[in-house]
Structures are given as C-alpha cells and as structure tokens.
C-alpha cells in the first residue's frame, strides 16, 4: 500500500475509534486496565533509566565545565534543563515507544490473526472503539505522570552521584536546579509528552490492527510500529520545539 493510502487507512481507523462507546461502564474499565498495562508496568524500566541517565548527565556536565569562571551550580542547572526539556519527555518516550508500541502492536496483531477482532465485529462491537481508544486515552493520561516521575528520578540520580563523588555539594546542586527556573518549561515538556503518547499508541495500534497473515506478520508489524512511532514522534518533537521555542 502507498504512503498516502496508509495515512488514509490510519485516519479511517482513528475516525472509527473516536465514536461513542457501546457501553460506557465497560469502556472506562478498559481505560483503567490500559493505564495499568501500558503505564504502571513501565515504571520499573523508567526508574532504572532515569536514575542512571541523571547520574551520567551530571558527571558529563561537571567534567566538561571544569573552569574557575563557571559556578558549580551550573551542573545542577544544566542537569535540570537537559532532563526537563529533552531527556525525560523525549528519550523516555522514545524508549516507551519501543516497549509500549511493540506491546500494543503485538496484542492487536495476535487478536487479528486469531480472529478475536472478527469475533468482536460479528457480535456488533465496534472493535476500533473497544480496543484502540482505551489504549490512546489510557496512555495519554498516564505518560505525563511517568515523565514527571522520570524528571524527579533523573534529578535525584544527578544529586546522588554529584554528592557521593564530591563533584558538587547539595547546596550548589539544589541552587542550580532552582536557578532561573521557568515552570513554563515543564508545561512545554508535558504538552509534547501528551502528543507523543497519542502518536505512540495510535501508530502502534494502526500496525497491529491491520495485520494480515500469521505470527510472522505480527512480529513484522511490531517492528514497523516501533520504527514508525519513533520517527513520527521525533518529527513531532522537532515541530513542537520549532513552533514553541523559536
């Protein structure tokens, strides 16, 4: 299928998803389940990555600004800017595009090849609305919380390594992360996070929902889902940064 054809199919899928649910009570339960499946289950890996990346950012910054002219608190300031503006929203989302994207795609793909989606349709259930919309809503709801969690962990990791290795004192680090702080940068980060969540969940759903064939195709669809959701996410990141900050 051509690229334009795929965009058309993706748009049709979204328009089929954004409809009135067959049963609101069941729908909200599905949303809560997806929050748990897609969000809460990713907390562990986000914890590890954020702590270590916070550590590395702090060490890298400190080792590159060894100058008497640059105040120590710059380490904290740089770590904060890096973590809040790009590391947590973009890199963590990119990692989650791999984890969550392949999960969504393989789940829907397996349901397609085992005729579970056909079974829903035969019963009269709008399968797109029932399966895809809760994933989109659930992930758009939970990802900002994961990113805020990642921001705190990243800053904590930076403090931990900075003070433990004697690179920076707690007072300097804390002063640095508070220095010239603009809450607007957090708003910007969370805004783009919500867009990323939409991209990851909807693009992965598209590849999973439209699988044709068998288990081999499910695997291929998962790979494509991760690749394309990452590409679209990075493009959206560029677009938002260009429009917002310049």
């Amino acid at each position: 299928m051509s690229f334009i054809g795929r965009i058309g199919e993706y748009t049709m899928m979204l328009s089929g998803s954004f409809t009135k649910p067959d049963k609101l009570k069941v729908f909200w339960k599905r949303c809560v389940d997806e929050v748990m499946n897609l969000g809460i289950n990713s907390m562990g890996i986000v914890f590890i990555i954020s702590i270590f990346m916070g550590m590395v950012i702090t060490i890298q910054t400190a080792s590159n600004i060894e100058s008497a002219w640059i105040p120590k608190y710059t380490v904290g300031f740089t770590a904060r800017q890096t973590i809040i503006l790009e590391f947590s929203p973009t890199i963590i989302s990119l990692i989650l595009a791999g984890i969550v994207g392949s999960r969504i795609s393989s789940e829907l793909g397996s349901m397609r090849v085992t005729e579970q989606i056909d079974a829903l349709e035969i019963m009269g259930v709008n399968s797109k609305n029932y399966l895809i919309l809760p994933k989109i809503i659930g992930f758009m709801f939970i990802l900002p919380f994961i990113i805020v969690y990642s921001m705190f962990l990243g800053l904590f990791g930076g403090w931990l390594v900075g003070t433990a290795s004697g690179i920076i004192s707690t007072a300097d680090y804390v002063y640095g992360i508070q220095y010239w702080f603009d809450p607007y940068s957090v708003f910007y980060a969370l805004f783009k996070t919500i867009l990323f969540a939409f991209v990851i969940s909807s693009v992965s759903s598209y590849y999973g929902y439209h699988v044709k064939g068998g288990s081999l195709e499910v695997g291929r669809a998962s790979t494509k889902a991760v690749i394309w959701s990452s590409i679209v996410m990075l493009f959206v990141n560029y677009l938002v940064t260009q429009l917002w900050l310049i």
Binding site: K23, V26, E115, Q116, A119, I122, M123, G124
Partner: protein
C-alpha cells in the same frame, strides 16, 4: 431463514464468488462444503457482512444486511452467533468472562441474571466448573464448546460455524457436530456450518451447498450427496479410499 441472491465478490480484480444463490433454512443445519480455495470462507464473511459484496443481496428474514446502515447492522449482529475455526476466545478473559462478554455489552441484565445465563450456556455445552479457567488452560474441544456457549449467550436467531471440528480428534469432532445440531433444533436457529469434513457432512448435513471455484456446483442433503452423479461432488465425497471402498460395498 437466510437467503443469498446472486452474490459476487472479487479481490484485486480476481473473481472469487461468481453469482451464488441459496436458501439457509431455519431449524436445520445448513452446510457449505467444498475444497480449499473454493470460496467458502469468503462467502461466509460476505453473509455476515465482514466483506461487502460486489453484487447481490443477503437477506436475514427479508432484511438485507449488505444494504443496512451501520446502526441497523449492529442491531442485526446481536442476533448472530459465530463459532470461529480457532475458537477466537478472548485470551485475557476467563471462560466465564468470555461467555458473559456479549451480555455485558448489549443487555441490561443484572449481575445475577448474567451469571445465571452464563451457567445455563456452559451447562448446555456440558462444561461444568470451568468458569475460572483461561482459554489457554483448556483443551481444543473445550475451547470449541466455550465458543459455542458464547455464541448462544445472546440467544441468537442465526449461528455460523467456521470449520467447527478442525484440529479435533474424530470422537470430539462428532460431539461438537451433534452439539451444534441439537442446539439448532432446540433454539430453532438458522445454522450455517462451513466444513470440508465428510464425517460432518454425513452426520449433520440437512441442507448442503457444494461450492466449486466460486460457483454453487450442487445442493442437496446428506442422503442425496451419497448418490449424486455430479462429478465435482463425487470427487470430493469419494476422495478417501475408505469412502471409495464404502461405495463399492454399497454397490
């Protein structure tokens, strides 16, 4: 009763169904049989409107599913039960949740009423004390029976079974066949079974359509299929040595 009139369907310029007409009768097990690639599955998907036909009409007691609005089609589908080849049970749900699913989605039953209906359906397919199991924890034959229980949960007027005994041993296959036949008579449903299993044909074939290369090549009953002279049908019926020997003995 389901009536199909002059159904045509193709994909990418290749004609799969070439003007098929037939009447699936109420209270009987209607069979669609034919070799692999003859168009059985495509025809079934056209009948349940998972595929849009290129030409023709599919009438459910006079209501053309292909010409309906989405809302009307959705309502009609609540009168349809379907048993898929691979059972198509929802992996993430228990046996009980699978059977309860259509009731939850489309009825205003209380929890107790739903539970009662689920137990009735599971007991009807002779599954007892399996409510809490997941589909992966049950055998192939059990999965078929769970799928039948789910299919009849909404008390459907029409039941479709796609290769209901594929992958089952002969004894379990006959149990499933007879279960389908009994349920059809008990609930007076219009049942359509897609199969290429001759045992099923001889066991439950009350009204049979034989498809060959996208055309209806023959129609009749399990009694008449044994005696027919239609070449394509005899090649299909007597494909196995057992059936050829049986025919010789009968002659």
């Amino acid at each position: 009763m389901i009536q199909i009139n002059d159904i045509e369907k193709g994909f990418n310029g290749v004609e799969i169904l070439k003007g098929i007409s037939f009447e699936f009768q109420t209270g009987k097990t209607n069979l669609i049989i034919g070799q692999s690639g003859s168009g059985k599955s495509v025809l079934t998907k056209c009948i349940v409107a998972l595929h849009q036909v290129d030409k023709g009409e599919v009438l459910y007691d006079g209501r053309d599913i292909q010409a309906m609005s989405n809302k009307e089609r959705k309502e009609l589908r609540q009168e349809i039960g379907m048993l898929f080849q691979g059972s198509a049970l929802f992996d993430s749900m228990t046996v009980e949740e699978n059977v309860m699913f259509p009731l939850k989605m489309f009825t205003k039953m209380s929890k107790a009423e739903m539970q009662e209906r689920v137990n009735f359906c599971l007991n009807r397919v002779e599954l007892f004390d399996k409510n809490g199991l997941y589909p992966a924890e049950t055998s192939g034959g059990m999965q078929k029976r769970i799928a039948i229980a789910r299919a009849i949960a909404m008390n459907p007027k029409y039941l479709f079974c796609d290769e209901p005994n594929s992958g089952l041993d002969p004894k379990t296959a006959i149990v499933i066949d007879n279960l389908i036949k009994d349920i059809t008579e008990e609930f007076n449903m219009t049942t359509v079974v897609i199969t290429h299993d001759m045992n099923s044909v001889l066991e439950i074939g009350e009204n049979i359509m034989f498809l060959s290369q996208g055309l209806k090549a023959w129609e009749g009953t399990k009694e008449s299929i044994i005696t027919t002279d239609a070449k394509e049908v005899t090649e299909f019926v007597y494909a196995s040595k057992f059936m050829r020997d049986y025919k010789d003995r009968m002659m």
